[in-house]
């Protein structure tokens, strides 16, 4: 390589410097590759150790900075007739609105809680509450909400909204509630 450079009229000292530079450059490139390989290989270790904290911490922060926060979704209760789990016309109207809202916010999962009034046995009302929650879920699914986003639970008569024992309280307590699980 040195004799060839000499052929082109380069002084020997300069040729030597050039050769050294090229070599260093070559070595440097090789070293660079190694560094890249290291940086590619190295991250998995720390990432594996603590993968969950960084992404959730960063992503919402980025979203908050770059896009306005979506309004928290609130879904109104639907009510049922005494000892019934089929949906009234009013309940269907309300659920149509819920389905629209949920289709617009596909990232949200919802838990539907079925409740009953105080009349009847604990076991019977637990079963009835579950049928109410299921009826609501099935209707939302029929309106295009993915079933995988909807879970159900029954509280029977254990969680009344209104503790009084009259028709008004009972009507309020026969309900399905919606809990948005990830907002």
């Amino acid at each position: 390589m040195l004799s060839r450079l000499r052929k082109f009229g380069w002084p020997p000292a300069l040729s030597l410097v050039l050769v050294l530079l090229v070599s260093v450059g070559y070595l440097g490139c090789g070293g660079g590759k190694q560094v890249v390989q290291q940086t590619e290989a190295a991250p998995p270790e720390p990432v594996r150790e603590e993968p969950p904290p960084p992404p959730p911490a960063r992503q919402p922060a980025v979203e908050r900075e770059e896009a306005p926060a979506p309004r928290p979704l609130m879904l109104a209760n639907v009510n049922f007739d005494y000892d019934k789990y089929d949906l009234t016309a009013t309940a269907r109207d309300i659920l149509a609105g819920h389905a629209r809202a949920l289709r617009e916010r596909p990232e949200l999962n919802v838990r539907i809680a079925g409740h009953c009034d105080e009349r009847g046995t604990i076991e019977y009302n637990l079963a009835l509450g579950e049928k109410r929650a299921n009826a609501v879920r099935d209707y939302l699914v029929s309106l295009g909400v993915e079933r995988s986003r909807l879970s159900t639970i029954s509280y029977g008569k254990e969680r009344p909204l209104d503790a009084r024992s009259n028709e008004e309280a009972w009507a309020r307590n026969r309900r399905a509630e919606f809990v948005i699980q990830n907002q």
Binding site: R119, G120, T121, I122, E123, Y124, L126, A127, E130, K131, I153, S154, Y155, G156, E158, R159
Partner: protein, 465 residues
């Protein structure tokens, strides 16, 4: 007979039926006693049967054996106050046994004493049991002794002795009461049994345990969630219940003394109303983990799960017959919730109740002949019993709030239930015919009572030395 012609008869004759049934039971029991002890003279139950009036006292007293409680003597360090306590507890225990009419010889004859009422109506009873108790105390330890004497022949029938810590005096007396019941009837008493129930603690509902007479109320669980429908294991050590502690209504087993979780059975859907088989090997319960509410059985390890019902209606609230060969349960498969009976394998399903459009919470008597349940008639919830043949429907509660969750005492003579008769929901117990009602709790949020078999308490557990 058609259904239409059958219903009004059952409803109209409720009260008469109650008396007739009571009389039959009384006769059977007395005959048993007479045969066993050879000491009893039978009073003709026709006296009651002829009456058209609903007789509150007579129904009880004719079934009861008179036991006279002599004064309890305090010896050594025992206080007269403790001696009086012994008599008070013993008197109540014996009365709650449903087979004994106890009275104190140191009391002035009271006009309303059932035993005196019997004596005034018929020939003098040739037999009554005299109990001569003594209480001895040395430091923290007490000894309760009692001579049991046939008052007629003056023959001593037995001498009993119990020792333990003074703090367990109540348990010592319970042991004496159970031995007296056993001596006179051959049956096990209920004085050492306990009742579990649920009550509100803040927003949650926790499991509580008390003695059969409503004393020693103790909070057992502290899950901070909803906990429902407790059921005692056959050996009275564990409770199975529905708990929301994992945010879903799942079955868990907790220790009946410490309240610690022994085992949990997480499952999708709703798991409710667990109940142990009489031999203690299986738990029946209702579950929706396959979609619809069906009855299942599994062993206490959660293994060998078997599905018993196969119907699109809601099947729930199972209860075992005392032989373990059959189960009663609630099903709305014919439109309204009604009680059905099936064989333990799930076959041979037949309907038991026809009156009313809402019958739920069946509880099979340990004696085997009756099933207690909740019945809604005229928008009110009441406790009723029906024989396993479907005959003799008897309404036990009336005009006293909402009455739910019936469960039998281990001897089959009493029924514990929840009632809103005093405003809030509390636990009450009554005799199998609806008589002798006792209020057991005063929290106002108590539901789902479950009556244990007799436990074997450690009489020395509370000793300080």
């Amino acid at each position: 007979m058609t259904l239409e012609s059958r219903l009004p008869v059952c409803v109209r004759s409720n009260r008469r039926l109650a008396i007739a049934a009571g009389c039959w039971r009384t006769t059977r029991r007395l005959a048993l006693l007479a045969g066993m002890t050879g000491l009893l003279a039978l009073l003709p139950c026709a006296l009651v049967a002829q009456s058209e009036v609903y007789l509150r006292v007579e129904t009880n007293t004719f079934a009861r054996i008179p036991v006279e409680l002599k004064e309890c003597r305090p010896l050594q360090q025992a206080s007269p106050k403790d001696a009086t306590r012994v008599l008070d507890i013993l008197d109540n225990d014996l009365w709650m046994s449903s087979v004994i009419a106890s009275f104190r010889s140191d009391e002035a004859p009271a006009g309303d004493s059932p035993w005196l009422e019997i004596a005034s109506r018929g020939p003098a009873q040739p037999f009554r049991l005299e109990v001569h108790p003594r209480l001895t105390q040395q430091n923290d330890r007490v000894k309760l002794e009692a001579d049991l004497i046939d008052s007629h022949s003056r023959r001593p029938l037995a001498q009993k002795s119990y020792q333990g810590c003074r703090d367990n005096l109540r348990l010592l007396v319970h042991s004496l009461a159970d031995d007296i019941v056993n001596l006179l009837t051959g049956e096990n008493g209920i004085a050492k049994s306990r009742i579990a129930f649920t009550a509100k603690v803040g927003e949650s509902k926790e499991i509580f345990v008390m003695d059969f007479d409503g004393t020693n109320v103790r909070q057992l669980t502290g899950f901070g969630t909803l906990n429902l429908t407790p059921a005692w294991s056959t050996d009275a050590r564990l409770l199975a219940l529905t708990s929301y502690r994992q945010d879903n209504p799942d079955l868990v087993l907790v220790d009946g003394v410490t309240g610690r979780t022994v085992r949990a059975f997480p499952q999708t859907g709703l798991q409710t109303a667990p109940v142990w088989s009489p031999d203690g090997s299986l738990i029946a319960f209702a579950s929706t983990h396959e979609g619809n509410s069906e009855i299942y059985v599994m062993n206490a390890e959660g293994k060998r799960l078997r599905r018993l019902t196969h119907h699109p209606g809601v099947d729930s609230s199972p209860t075992w017959s005392p032989t373990g060969r059959e189960l009663a349960f609630t099903s709305d498969r014919l439109g309204t919730p009604q009680i059905f009976i099936m064989d333990a394998e799930g076959s041979n399903v037949r309907r038991l109740t026809y009156v009313g459009d809402y019958n739920d919470s069946p509880a099979w008597s340990p004696k085997g002949d009756k099933i207690a349940f909740v019945s809604r008639l005229n928008s009110r919830f009441n406790i009723a019993t029906v024989e396993v043949t479907g005959e003799n429907l008897t309404q036990l509660t009336a005009e006293a709030g909402s009455n739910e969750d019936p469960a039998w005492s281990p001897d089959g003579y009493r029924i514990v239930f929840s009632s809103t008769r005093s405003g809030g929901s509390d636990i009450y117990s009554m005799e199998w015919n609806g008589q002798n009602v006792r209020r057991l709790t005063h929290k106002g949020t108590c539901t789902s009572p479950a009556w244990s078999n007799n436990s074997r308490p450690d009489l020395n557990s509370a000793c300080r030395d």
